[in-house]
Amino acid sequence: MNFVEPAMPEPRTSRPARSSSVMMGRQDFLSTVLRLTSTELYKIRRRAMSKVMGIIALATILFTYLFAPFISQDLVHLPLSVTVAVEVPRLLGIVLTIVLVGTIVGGEYGIGTIRLMLTRGPSRIQFLLGKIGAALACIMLGLLFMFLAGILLGQAVSLFINVPTNWHFFSLDWLGRVLLYLLSAMFGLCIYAMMALFLAILGRSSTAGVAGAMTWSLLEPVFGLLVSTVGERIHGPLGAFFVSIPDYLISNNVGVLLQNESIFLTHDQPATLSNLHALLVLALYLLVFFGLSWWLLERRDITN
C-alpha cells in the first residue's frame, strides 16, 4: 500500500503542567543516553549473574597467580606479570563479555521489557547506545580491576616466594606502553561485545547472543587455520586469497594489536600485520555490528 506523506500543520495540543512531585531530568540526547547507561549499570549491578561473574574473575586471577610460579617465577612479578595480568582477564573477558552483553540485550526481548523501555520516551538509538555504554563501562572497569588485582596479587606472591622485583624498567614511557597494551585488550573485547549485541538483536534472545557469539569466537581461529592450510596447498591466486582470509578475522587482528603492543615486554618479533591494518579491520567489524544492530532495531516491529 502506498501512502503519501503530507506536510504536517503546526498546531500542537498544549501540555498541562505535571505534578510537582515529578522531577524531570535533562532531556537532550546525550543526557538521555547517559541516564540509560547508568540505569543499565544499575540493573547489571543488581543481577545475581554479575556477582557470579565477579567471583569467577577473581577466582581465575587468584588461581593464575598461585600456579604461575610453577611455570616461571618471572611471570608473577613486574614487568612480565603485565602480560599475564592482561592476557588472562582478556581471554576470560571474551566469555564474560559475551555472556553479559548477550544477556542484557537479549534479555530485554526474552523477558519482554523491551516493550516497556521503548514506550517510555527514549528513541531506539538511545536505547542501543545506553546498552553499548554500559557494556563499554563493564569491559573497561572489569579489565582494569582484574589487571590491577593481578599485578598486586603477583607482587604479593613474588614477595611470598622471595623473588625480588628490579624496578629499573619503570618509566613514564613504560607506563604509557602498558596503558596502550591494556587499551588494545579492551578494544578487542569491545568487538566481541558488539558481536554479542548484534546477534542478540538479530535472534531477539539471550541465547542467540551468547551462543552465537561464543560459537563465532571459538570457530573463528579454527576456520582461519583451515583456510590458510587449504590456501597453502592450492597455490595460485585462489590459494593466496585463502591464505589472506585469516588477516581479516577478528581474533587474528586483536592478536596483532596485542602482539605489537607487548613486544616491549616480551621482546618478541612484531606481528606480520601492522597496527593500522588491524585497527582498520576491527573498526570495520565494529561499524558493521553496530550498523546492523541499529538497522535491525530501527526497522523491526516489537511484537513480543
Binding site: 500500500m1 522531577m23 538521555t32 516497556l116 523501555m117 521503548l118 517510555r120 520516551g121 528513541s123 511484537t303
Partner: protein, 362 residues
C-alpha cells in the same frame, strides 16, 4: 493516492487516519480512523485478534503501520515519537518488569528511562504511585514474587509515574480480583476527573460501560463502531409491555404500529415475544423515558398493560451484535438497529463487509 491528513484540533489527543497494519497476508488493522478527544475515557473494544493491541502498539511506535498515520497531541508519531511518548503512560498487554528487581527498583529504572531524574529525587513520586495502586507495603519485595494482580498494579503505577496526559491501558484488569477491578475502575474515574485522557482497551464490557464516555469497536481489524457510549446505550433502550391476554397484546401491537405509521417515529422497532413464564410480551425499541407516554397512549385505546418494564441498553448487547460472526447475521436483525448513525455531530464509522454494515428490520 490522496493525501492523508488526520483531522485534529487543540482538543484532539489521538487522531488516526487510514491506519493499516498487514502481517504477511493477515490484515491486522484495516483503514482505521480513530479520534480521541481531550478528557475522554475512550473504550477500545473487540474480540481477541481484532487488532486492538496492534493498534495500541502502532500508537506507541512499537510497530510501524503498513499505511496511514497516527497523530497524537498534534504530532505525527512516525516523526516525533519521543516527545509523544514523554506525555503518555501505557500498559501494553501484560505488564512485564525486571524479575530480579523489587517493585520500587523497577519504578526507579522506568523513571530514569522516562526522562525523570535519577536517584532519590523521585522517591516521593514513586511512593505516590505505589500508594495509588496500594503496593507500598510490597514495594521492596522482588517483582518475581508478585502475584498476577500485583504485577498488573505495578504496571498501572509505571504508567502513572510521569503524571502523563494520556494513559493507555491495554486490559488493565487482567488478573485482578473483583475488588481490584473495582479499584481500577475508581482509579480511572479519578484520573478522568483530573483531566487525564484515558484510552482503555478491555474485554470487560461492564467496566467499559461504567467508566467510558466514548467507545470504538473493532472486528477483524475493521472499525465497526465509534461513538458516544450514552448515545449507543440510548439506542439499545427497550420497553417491555405485558398484557393479560394474547388478544390484548395483538391489539396493542396493531395500535402501536398504526401510531408509528402516523408519525410516532421514536418507536424504532416493535416485536411480539414471551417472557420466561411463557406469557406474551410486546417489546418496543424506544427511549425508556417515554414509558409513561406509551402507557397513556395505549390507555386511550382501552389497552391497559399489566406490567411495564423499561429496559436499559447494555454495551454487551451492542458489542455482541456488532462483533457477531457473519453466519448469525440473520438472527441479529433486531439489534442491527443500533448500527444506525448516531448523530450528525458524532463521528461515525461503519465499514463495508461487516455484519453491522447492514440495517436492521425497521
Amino acid at each position: 493516492m490522496e493525501e492523508i491528513v488526520p483531522e485534529y484540533d487543540e482538543n484532539t489527543i489521538i487522531s488516526t487516519s487510514r491506519l493499516t497494519k498487514v502481517f504477511g497476508r493477515l490484515v491486522a488493522v484495516n483503514d482505521l480512523h480513530l479520534q480521541v478527544m481531550r478528557g475522554d475515557v475512550f473504550g477500545f473494544l473487540g474480540p481477541n485478534g481484532s487488532g486492538k493491541t496492534t493498534t495500541i502498539r502502532m500508537l506507541l511506535g512499537l510497530i510501524r503501520p503498513t499505511a496511514g498515520r497516527a497523530v497524537i497531541f498534534g504530532m505525527d508519531n512516525a516523526y516525533q515519537l519521543s516527545p509523544i511518548l514523554a506525555r503518555i503512560g501505557a500498559i501494553v498487554e501484560m505488564p512485564v518488569f525486571y524479575p530480579y528487581l523489587s517493585g520500587s527498583d523497577n519504578l526507579h529504572v522506568i523513571a530514569a528511562a522516562s526522562g525523570m531524574m535519577q536517584g532519590s529525587a523521585n522517591n516521593r513520586r514513586i511512593d505516590e504511585v505505589l500508594e495509588i495502586v496500594e503496593l507500598r507495603r510490597q514495594a521492596r519485595q522482588a517483582y518475581r514474587t508478585y502475584s498476577l494482580g500485583m504485577k498488573q498494579r505495578l504496571g498501572i503505577a509505571a504508567a502513572l509515574l510521569t503524571d502523563p496526559e494520556l494513559v493507555l491501558l491495554d486490559e488493565p484488569t487482567n488478573g485482578l480480583d473483583p475488588q481490584g477491578v473495582f479499584e481500577i475502575r475508581q482509579l480511572i474515574k479519578r484520573l478522568s476527573e483530573l483531566g487525564k485522557t484515558i484510552f482503555l482497551s478491555s474485554h470487560i464490557l461492564y467496566e467499559v460501560q461504567q467508566v467510558c464516555n466514548r467507545v470504538a469497536i473493532l472486528q477483524r481489524g475493521n472499525l465497526v463502531k465509534q461513538g458516544d457510549v450514552g448515545e449507543l446505550l440510548r439506542r439499545g433502550e427497550q420497553i417491555e409491555l405485558r398484557f393479560n391476554t394474547e388478544d390484548e397484546t395483538r391489539q396493542a401491537l396493531a395500535t402501536l404500529q398504526h401510531l408509528r405509521d402516523q408519525g410516532l417515529n421514536w418507536i424504532s422497532e416493535l416485536q411480539e415475544d414471551t417472557n420466561r413464564k411463557g406469557q406474551p410480551l410486546l417489546r418496543l425499541t424506544a427511549p425508556t423515558a417515554r414509558s409513561a407516554e406509551i402507557n397513556a397512549l395505549l390507555a386511550r385505546y382501552q389497552l391497559f398493560a399489566a406490567e411495564l418494564h423499561p429496559r436499559e441498553g447494555s454495551l454487551e448487547e451492542i458489542y455482541l451484535e456488532l462483533t457477531a460472526p457473519t453466519a448469525n447475521e440473520g438472527h441479529k436483525a433486531g439489534m442491527a438497529a443500533l448500527a444506525e448513525p448516531l448523530s450528525q455531530q458524532e463521528m461515525e464509522t461503519e465499514m463495508p463487509g461487516t455484519s453491522n454494515g447492514k440495517r436492521g428490520m425497521r
